[in-house]
Symmetry: C2
Subunit: 329 residues, 2 copies
């Protein structure tokens, strides 16, 4: 199997991307890695080159602050766009990038293309949960508005992903809502509820955002706007919480001493709730696997994204989504 990696995307590119790709190539010899980017910049960090790692030279780079649609249309030789082309032309089964999220979604949609029958692709990162298993949340930003039909397709795609990539037999799917009763919510969730009851997923009903961290479900569906509000509220709370803890911990010499005792447990918890630690988020509904790594990914995160891509390819994630969506059509 072949996996294209955007060597130029991410805060620490190309260094950490090249290091992660190299580690992955060494660990999984059944994977052919195609590093897409500037050859000289890549080689500066590569050292040795295993037989299953090649470079595809490109001249352009999509920057973090580039306007997504414009950048993808104009920078035809950008590393991200070329990686997308490799997937479209079946020269790779998957692409991985830690670059501009909007541009990657555009690359998925315009360069790689949708699975026929899918109305809207969805960005589906894992959110941390208190039990450590995480929950796949979608859509978290590919489409701000959604219809009830879109949410139903998100449920199907998310459910197949948790099954194929994480081996969960019957992933529990929840609908993000403001109350647990069936008739709670806005017009969108009220319309989606009966469709989800009929959908080929294990629908467990409405889930409130305060319970998402408490691992009530394996997949949570929502429109991109609500998903983003939830995600950033959780991030904001975590950020405030840890900054207050830090202040408390460094107030006096005896609080510093106390903090030293508690620190390992707190740090473990902090790591557990760090979004970067929870792997790459797939863009589901695309004719090939597109994985988004966090911009601040390190080499290990890149290597883990290859691990995820490898499992998804082995289990034909994209084929399974396409078959289910077009089932009976």
């Amino acid at each position: 199997m072949r996996i294209a990696i955007d060597a130029m995307g991410g805060d620490h590119a190309p260094k950490v991307v090249v290091e992660g790709a190299l580690a992955a190539a060494k660990e999984w010899t059944d994977v052919e890695i195609i590093l897409v980017g500037n050859t000289a910049a890549i080689e500066a960090h590569l050292g040795e080159r295993p037989a299953n790692l090649t470079i595809r030279h490109t001249e352009e780079v999509i920057e973090a602050d580039d306007e997504p649609v414009k950048a993808v249309r104009r920078k035809k030789d950008a590393s991200m766009v070329v990686a997308g082309k490799l997937v479209r032309e079946k020269e790779a089964e998957a692409m991985i990038s830690a670059g501009n999220t909007g541009a990657l979604m555009t690359t998925g949609l315009l360069v790689v293309g949708r699975i026929p029958g899918i109305e809207r692709p969805a960005l589906a990162p894992m959110l941390p949960t208190i039990d450590g298993n995480g929950v796949l949340a979608l859509d978290l930003g590919a489409n701000m508005d959604a219809t009830a039909e879109h949410l139903t397709q998100y449920a199907i795609m998310g459910s197949i992903y948790r099954n194929k990539v994480h081996g969960i037999a019957n992933p529990r799917v929840g609908l993000l809502n403001v109350g647990t009763e069936a008739m709670k919510g806005n017009e969108l969730t009220k319309a989606a509820y009966p469709l989800l009851e009929q959908a080929p997923v294990e629908f467990i009903g409405n889930v409130e955002s305060r319970d998402v961290l408490r691992a009530g479900c394996d997949v949570i569906v929502c429109d991109g706007f609500a998903g983003n509000i939830m995600l950033k509220s959780l991030e904001g709370a975590a950020s405030v919480f840890f900054s207050v803890l830090k202040t408390e911990f460094t107030k006096t010499w005896y609080s510093k001493l106390a903090a030293a005792i508690l620190k390992p447990g707190i740090m473990k918890f902090r790591k557990q709730f760090d979004y970067k630690e929870h792997g790459a988020g797939p863009l589901l509904g695309i004719q090939g696997l597109v994985l988004k790594c966090h911009g601040s990914s390190d080499a290990n995160a890149i290597k883990n994204a290859v691990r995820q891509a490898r499992i998804a390819i082995q289990n034909d994630l994209v084929g399974a989504i396409s078959a289910e969506i077009n089932h009976g059509k």
Copy 2:
């Protein structure tokens, strides 16, 4: 001025409500308190009765799990509904209740009535911020869906509330959104943005939910669905954090010792971020003042709600909202 208090609403009613009302009557002799509820139940907790405290006897009570609209329509002699009638008939300028939130919103809308020109009343609690000043968030649940025009009215009402009740000269109003740039968001926020720029408020643009706790604005506007997702995400994160801290703090005898040192600071922080501590939330857009106290309010919270109502009445909050909404009409 006369303030009607629903003596039977809340987890610890009528005891704490009566105690809070009594304390308020003693502190502010310019306020006439009307305790609405079962006379015998109220008198059991009253002891003395100051001249500025009267009881309005009612037989029925709206329970926490009553279906709001049905309960308000059928239980015409419920303490909450009768308190609403007192406001409608100008026998009181304000009502306070710690009872069923949905029923209180229904009482505001159907019993007290909207201010002419207001399309949708909004529930506007204060959320905690890291600087301790808090942010007024609306709508947090009165209407799940909203139009751009509704959000604009929320901005005006919230701004007047912060000015009249909290004395902020030019309250900064933010639009809850997924990014700070003007064109970010869903169809609703994109339509609301230019209206907010034209509105008679100090509009500071989009605010992301991760920055709400960091006190970027004095008022944040959103539809009831997004507001609820934000609020419950923050609550959920706080709940998980404090439960993890508790586990860490009680792991070993030396972690218990360390925890004892850090506990006062942590508890102060916890209290600061406890929604119950941030006063009653007004239902804005109603022809009279309706204040919602948290269900688990104690006597002090009830007394503080009277303080809030008193300031709002002194500064003619309702008249000011009505004048601004109908300005130039």
